[in-house]
Amino acid sequence: MCLAVPGRVLEIEERDGTRMATVDFGGVVKEACLEYLPDLQVGEYAIVHVGFALQKLDEESARQTLELFTQLGMLQEEFGDPWEMAAEAGGLPLPGAAEASQEARQ
């Protein structure tokens, strides 16, 4: 959970008075809030933690980190379906399976 993943800003928009971006994390696209890095521009990289861009990162370091995370399966850990992962780790049946995976995909 303390893991922060580097991502590249694809698009920026103002929503509900908040600066939000769509961010590409090595193929997984998610939203991130830019309120803590108001100067971040489209095409730039930042480390993003729980949907918030926290610090700018240069492109080279971002790419290297992403490559490492992909190799180690850490992007899957970060963005996969948490209910499925928890069920698998615990050897348990999935509670409310359908809705759970739907949320994770949102």
Partner: protein, 375 residues
């Protein structure tokens, strides 16, 4: 050499290891604070690649692991209420409370949802005005600013059916508690890089000075850890104790000013209990009085919880670096990721889970160290 070919740049890793080997002249004990670093160390066998004189002690930096059992039990109670949609990060699902976990609560019909960001929980509150949406706000200085922003936005947008169950913790007071412990063997710290991305170097120079310990801000990738160890050993050998930033690509000395300002607005520092460790003064955040309406503890007066820690679990000692996970009697027998006794066996940053996942087959038991609570 075992493991080293798995490094992103094995040549660079070899160079750093050679430098460490040629620098070190006597034994040193370094603590890596962050659980993410612990996982990297065990996964890549860094502790085994280092010269014998350099010992890495695992620190308390796993937010899931240090969340007090009582708070988990409160979360479980609130999540079980029919009017509540309980939102959490995925890591919390299987953290054992007294007798059950969030996974079980959902099986029993509780509306528990996993979100990627706290802002997603706020969105759920907007979409469900007739329900109470509670977000489980745990984590260190990296996670606190997103949660602070979410509460700030809830107030700004006039969303009334949202609240935060807060159990935020701060690293510097934990470092202080570790240094004050009578059994402390730690001679230097690898500080948690992402915590410093937010906080900057702020409180560290004073700690380094007061306790005479080098503090090297370190990332969590394998080469980052080796570079952190190298810089730490250089300082130790020279008898120095300063703060050094070995993770400049993500850490600026001033941190993130916007995040710091938001933390200041939404939270106030408080004493906080750490699971298995006890209360560390000034080591947590709670919502400031002007945000009290958004505090789930006030909104849902939970009482009558009978919190019981499993007696066998020694995660408190593991979290203080006094015991290695495999030295716990329960490790790998009664306690496994499938049947965890403590949070350190469940969390993706927990030390027991790291040992179980990456180090299960090649461990030798060593004599456990004597333990006592810090603080």
């Amino acid at each position: 050499m075992k493991y080293i070919d798995e490094f992103q740049d094995p040549e660079l890793a070899r160079g750093l290891l050679d430098e460490i080997r040629s620098t070190v002249t006597r034994p040193w004990a370094l603590m890596e604070v962050c659980g993410g670093q612990t996982h990297t160390i065990i996964r890549h066998g860094i502790d085994q690649l280092l010269p014998d004189q350099v010992e890495l002690i695992h620190g308390p930096g796993c937010p899931v692991c240090v969340t007090p059992l009582e708070v988990i039990d409160k979360a479980l109670e609130i999540a079980s209420r029919p009017e509540v949609i309980f939102c959490s990060f995925g890591d919390m699902l299987r953290v054992p409370g007294t007798g059950r976990d969030l996974f079980r609560v959902r099986s029993e019909g509780g509306d528990v949802r996993v979100v990627y960001s706290p802002l997603d929980a706020l969105k759920i509150a907007q979409q469900n005005p007739d329900r109470e949406v509670v977000f489980f706000g745990i984590g260190f200085e990296t996670t606190a600013p997103p949660n602070a922003m979410t509460v700030y936005q809830a107030r700004r947008l006039g969303i009334r059916n949202f609240s935060l169950l807060v159990s935020h913790v701060r690293v510097p007071p934990a470092i202080e508690a570790i240094m004050r412990s009578p059994n402390c063997r730690v001679q230097a710290f690898l500080a948690a890089g992402h915590v410093c991305s937010v906080m900057g170097l702020g409180e560290y120079p004073e700690l380094a000075e007061r306790f005479g310990v080098p503090i090297v801000v370190t990332g969590f990738e394998p080469l980052d850890i080796l570079e952190g160890v190298r810089r730490t050993v250089v300082q130790l050998e020279r008898g120095e104790h300063s703060v050094d930033n070995a993770y400049p690509r993500a850490v600026r000395p001033e941190g993130n000013p916007a995040a710091l300002a938001m933390l200041e607005d939404v939270f106030e520092v408080t004493d906080r209990a750490w699971r298995g460790i006890g209360v560390i003064p000034g080591s947590g955040w709670r919502l400031a009085p002007r945000y009290r309406d958004y505090d789930a503890e006030y909104r849902f007066q939970v009482s009558g919880i009978d919190t019981r820690e499993p007696a066998q679990c020694r995660s408190g000692e593991v979290l203080q670096g006094l015991l290695k996970p495999h030295e716990c009697e329960a490790f790998g027998t009664v306690c496994t990721p499938r049947t965890p006794l403590g949070a350190t066996m469940v969390s993706s940053e927990g030390a027991c889970a790291a040992y179980y996942l990456y180090r299960r087959l090649d461990m030798n038991k060593t004599a456990p160290l004597e333990a006592s609570p810090v603080g």
